[in-house]
Amino acid sequence: MINETLVELSRWQFAITALFHFLFVPLTIGMTWILFIMEAVYVMTGRVIYRDMTKFWGKLFAINFAIGVATGLTMEFEFGTNWSYYSHYVGDVFGAPLAIEGLMAFFLESTFVGMFLLGWDRLSKRQHLAATFLMALGTNLSAMWILVANGWMQNPIGSEFNYATMRMEMVSFSELVFNPVAQVKFIHTVAAGYVAGAMFVMSISSYYLLKGRDVAFAKRSFSVASGFGLAAIFCVLLLGDESGYEVGEVQRVKLAAIEAEFHTEPAPAAFTLVGLPNEETMETDYAVKIPYALGLIATRSLDGQVTGISDLKKEHEVRIRGGMIAYDYLQKLRGGEETPENIASFNEVKDDLGYGLLLKRYTNDVINATEEQIQMAVEDSIPPVAPIFWAFRIMVGSGIVMLGLFILAFYFNARRQIQDKRWLLKAILFALPLPWIAIETGWFVAEVGRQPWAISEILPTFMATSNHEASSVAMTMIAFILVYIVMFILEMWLMVKFAKQGPSSLHTGRYHFEQEEQEASPQLRQDKY
């Protein structure tokens, strides 16, 4: 039987470490291209201010990057330490994109980040720009491979269950890579990272503009970020990964949860703008609805239906009963009765095996599960509706506010009036947390919406853990929380310190806090370029 405490703790630990890691990664993803753009302008025009911009924002980038690297190590370890059955069950498929990520992307990113930060005096201009580009490329490729892996968890195609080895095995690498869910996820997630990078640069530049210091530096940084960010936020919103919810059973369930669509509505369904989803009555109270919108958004058509939760449950019940038969044959096959008939019968129902495993939460005797146990498993087959409903709305709401800000920022920047729009600069400064709110709630929708599965329809989350004492995981989880808090404080302290100091921290003698010093000893501070 399942140790529920262990499962809960393992899930919490993974969620905490993943969400924490994901505070830093999007900024890295977005900043790499912003740095590349700035440096490219420097190389093309030779204007030193753009090199200073690259160096200064690169300094902040490095502070963020270090903690991203550190917390990323956890993710690499954690599948093995805390999800060993997961590692066994899907390592054949899931491990490959992770290893490719290391070989193709991490090496590139990490090798050239050193060149980017410390190679200024040792590389030619063009070599250094190439290093910056390769760093950005590596970062984005790494996002791609991790999302190929995650896309497979949401929509596990290109693989098949092998009863002899008792695990999923890869049958088509190209299906894995060109998984439509992975593709939309990649675009959506990296674009969200670009938004985070752009907002970061824009907000801090707004701070300098509001303070009226290093204006030339801040305005140029603001320009780069507002243009880049506007393009990125359009990408995020228009190519939102909702388009990926058509494919894959669990994506359909997730969509129903996002919309709190308890009962299938005739097409095209209305979109529930806000409301209070009530999972007991299976109704959304006080719902404010926009007619036709959901059908249009989710199915991109007027006649496509969005299946409601009650109908999904009926489908799942059939699959669970199929899964009981599959489990029966699996036991026969693994027990040595490898007759051609048994193999053929198993192959007919093996797609339902995962649903059968849902019963493992309630009984080890899956084949003889009671009606009551089956009903409990059916209830489990739907993720919690209200948190997903709300998380999604917070994400989209943040996105729409940011869209407004980026449009205004871009417009006034293009008209060269941005410095006078103090209200907008203030709004942008205080909007700094928005990308992170959207990103973290987006992660929540994607991963909680996948429940009860670790791998959609294949492996229930509660089966995927390692066999630890719950107390062991509790101990490490507390350690993670404490250590991460300390790391976060250190990082934020350095970040705020250097952001406040601004480009003066480069000690070139050209910026705000060094003006007096420079007058005192100009020969010492003269730039050698």
Binding site: A66, I67, N82, E101, F107, G114, N467, M487
Partner: protein, 379 residues
């Protein structure tokens, strides 16, 4: 292209190469970090030491990440069993590994002696604990880990954290740490000058000697008190990965069988010894490239010695020997091994090329004056 049997064998070699790559590159950084408090006496000297690896530590660390991810992809059962079986040891390593990225990047950002002193301690801990734990873990691997699988292939590990610290495992920890310190010492004596170089060369000599002695002792224990594992049943090397279908017995001295049946393999431990001695002897001489190369070869010799002595075992089970994980039955499917081989064949040479380019671009003797002149742009 290759049949399943060959792929299994090739992947054993690739994992070995990745481990050696990790020890030679990231291990070098760990050696440097561990020697930091001892070879550098003031802040400028410490920055000299750190700046020999400042541009490279992150790329080097990817060897560790890639070795881990490759275990996941190629030997998923080993990855799951080892990482969950050594739970607290792995977590300890992980928490120590956090200290390096932060230490390297944050240390010199603040001009406060206390801040820097604390980060120096953090870098020391973050550099010396991982090789120590890895050494202890490998020492336990050689003795077998208590684990078994149930009928759904769920692994149950029953060992305790404190049981890991047995004499042979601690000796392995000493082998591992001295290897890393010797390596870091040869690197520093090559890339620094004056006092730092002299102290580093001395450290390289001392730890080369420790390595030779501890490695020899470990060999004696393998031949006498540490039991090996032998597969008694016929094994179908082309078969699906099913690690529970064989008969394994524990046999005294069996870890030497491979060397006895293929005497040429004795060259591996001999390389480990001879190259450590060479590294120690050459450490004092400039240019230090020879000592460093010898040290890298010695590391490769030690790691390969261990791999070969256990072959074909990866993780023997001491509680249920029949469930031991071997290179024939703990691996991924043929398709995945094939795919990953192609990926490695394309990207590993590429990685080596650009890594070498980066090292050559950053190559110089790091001096006190360099640090003093670039106080705001170096680490």
């Amino acid at each position: 292209m290759f049949d399943y049997e060959s792929l299994k064998l090739i992947w054993w070699l690739i994992i070995g190469i990745l481990l050696i790559g990790f020890a030679v590159t990231d291990g070098m950084d760990m050696g440097v970090g561990s020697l930091l408090p001892f070879v550098a006496k003031d802040d400028t000297e410490r920055r000299v030491v750190i700046n020999t690896i400042a541009a490279h530590w992150d790329g080097n660390q990817v060897w560790l990440i890639t070795a881990g991810a490759s275990l996941f992809a190629a030997w998923p059962m080993v990855y799951g069993t080892a990482f969950s079986g050594f739970y607290f040891a792995m977590m300890l390593t992980l928490f120590c590994l956090f200290l390096r990225p932060l230490g390297f990047d944050y240390r010199s950002k603040i001009d406060s002696p206390k801040w820097r002193y604390n980060w120096d301690k953090a870098l020391f801990v973050g550099s010396i604990v991982p090789p120590l734990v890895f050494g202890i873990a490998f020492g336990n691997l050689l003795q077998g880990i208590p684990f078994n699988f149930d009928e759904l292939m769920r692994v149950y590990t029953t060992g305790s954290f404190f049981a890991l610290f047995n004499p042979f495992a601690l000796l392995s920890g000493v082998v591992s740490v001295s290897m890393i310190l010797m390596h870091g010492g040869t690197w520093l004596s090559m890339r620094t000058d004056e006092h730092v170089a002299a102290r580093s060369a001395k450290a390289a000599q001392v730890f080369a000697a420790v390595l030779v002695v501890s490695f020899a002792l470990a060999g004696v224990m393998i031949a006498t008190t540490i039991d090996g594992y032998v597969i008694q049943s016929a094994i179908d090397t082309q078969a699906y990965a099913q690690p529970t279908n064989k008969v394994v017995t524990i046999v005294s001295g069996a870890w030497l069988n491979n060397f006895n049946s293929m005497p040429i393999l004795w060259l591996l431990p001999i390389t480990g010894f001879v190259m450590a001695i060479v590294a120690g002897l050459l450490a004092r001489f400039k240019p230090g490239g020879l000592a460093f190369t010898a040290s890298a070869l010695s590391i490769a010799g030690v790691i390969l010695t261990m791999g070969v002595s256990m072959f074909p075992f990866i993780m023997p089970s001491s509680s249920t020997p029949n469930h031991s994980l071997t290179i024939w039955d703990a691996v991924s499917s043929e398709g995945t091994l094939n795919l990953m081989l192609i990926v490695v064949a394309i990207f590993l040479p590429l990685i080596l090329c650009y890594t070498i380019w980066c090292y050559s671009k950053m190559w110089r003797t790091v001096t006190r004056s360099e640090i003093e002149e670039n106080t705001h742009s170096s680490y």
